[in-house]
């Protein structure tokens, strides 16, 4: 079979009577090309990921379908939903998903988001990943480029192409990984992934989440508890990390609420400082009361 070039896809999509009309290319990845398209039946914009023609080996085809299946089973506000899977006339697999307007997490950070906003978004990422873990799916390639911030502030975890399903041994990996095959992105992958270990668990994603958190903090003044959270998430030994993405999310939540975090033992001074900062208004009221009392004592003595 002769493969069509991506340039000809526009024409193809519009003439063969598929429900999608090509609009423009959005980006290219290792496995396929993502296009913005219009769904003529439902009259909405969608993103379509089409398998790259020249590399369309059976393994990649299977991986693409499995990616769509994985995303489809993860119905969560933080995970981009898949609408449709199909095959183009030239045999290329594609799947249609929600088109997310907004920016990638790295672009969002470059726009100067505050630390608090970044941490809230990070919590949403953790929650989406925790949901995937609860359904036996490990992402294995979490990085800022795979996280989208929608125009309404919604957070979506993308690119589940190298995700691994845990509970079914027959489907242990989307890719048939073997020892020595490195999956993930350098700087964001856990040490065990970097070593090419097959038997990785949720804590590999926890490490990547720690690396994403570290990225979010690069140009920020970071408190000791926040540093400790980052270090715990990125511990070399999986056993020393947070046991789950939910635990990591909870610690970030505690930090945002000025409560103690599990990763850091604070001294009395830090405890007091945190309490004062959390109850600033009450402290101001009591101070105002005391000042007023002192003022009255001195005026009544005159």
């Amino acid at each position: 079979m002769k493969w069509l070039s991506d340039d000809k896809l526009d024409h193809l999509l519009q003439v063969v009577g598929t429900r999608y009309v090509f609009v423009k290319e959005l980006g290219r990845g290792g496995m396929g090309t993502v296009y913005l398209a219009e769904d003529r039946e439902l009259d909405r914009e969608v993103a379509i990921k089409v398998l790259k023609a020249p590399e369309a080996t059976d393994g990649l085809r299977e991986r693409m379908i499995r990616e769509a299946q994985i995303i489809a089973r993860l119905e969560h506000p933080g995970i981009v939903p898949v609408h449709d899977v199909g095959t183009l006339p030239d045999g290329r697999i594609f799947y249609a998903m929600k088109f997310v307007r907004g920016s990638r997490l790295d672009e969002y950070v470059a726009q100067g988001a505050s630390l608090r906003d970044r941490l809230r978004k990070f919590q949403a990422v953790c929650d989406a990943v925790a949901f995937a873990h609860a359904h036996g799916v490990i992402h294995r390639d979490l990085k800022p480029q795979n996280i989208m911030i929608g125009s309404f502030g919604e957070v979506l975890v993308m690119d589940w192409g190298v995700a691994k399903i845990r509970e079914d041994p027959c489907k242990s990996a989307v890719f048939n990984t073997s020892d020595g095959t490195v999956i993930g992105t350098r700087n964001y992958m856990s040490p065990e992934q970097a070593r090419g270990e097959v038997e990785i668990d949720e804590r590999a994603d926890v490490y990547s989440l720690g690396a994403v958190l570290n990225f979010l903090l690069t140009d920020q003044k970071v408190s000791k508890p926040l540093k400790a959270i980052c270090s715990k998430a990125m511990a070399t030994e999986p056993g020393e990390r947070y046991a789950s993405a939910s635990e990591l999310s909870a610690d970030i939540g505690h930090l945002l609420d000025a409560e103690p975090v599990s990763a850091y033992r604070e001294n009395v001074l830090e405890k007091t400082g945190r309490w004062v900062s959390k109850n600033r208004f009450l402290v101001l009221l009591v101070l105002a009361y005391l000042l007023m009392r002192i003022f009255l004592i001195f005026t009544s003595r005159r």
Partner: protein
Amino acid sequence: MSKPLLGVVLGAILGAIDGLTAWFTPAVRDQLGGIVVGSTIKGIIAGVAIGFFAKKFHSLPIGILFGVLVGAFLAFLVALMQGGYYLEIVLPGTIVGLIVGFATQKYGSAPVEAN
């Protein structure tokens, strides 16, 4: 702690402290016991009113405003009975009402609604 209970506890503590500060006014030092008891009772009454208000209305600004009004009103009544010391009694009473109003809204636990 429930909002009314927090109001009572806080009102009593702040009322007692408020009364004890009368020690710094030599003219009324010999009446300190009565002032402390009276001030504590005033604090408890204010705390009950503010606490029950906080239970009914979940709004920090309105809770604070109510606290200020109750604190000022009760302190004014006390000053009226004393026949003087309006500033020394009404101003602290108002601030105590403000603190109790804020604390009951912010820290008091809302009642759990039965299904």
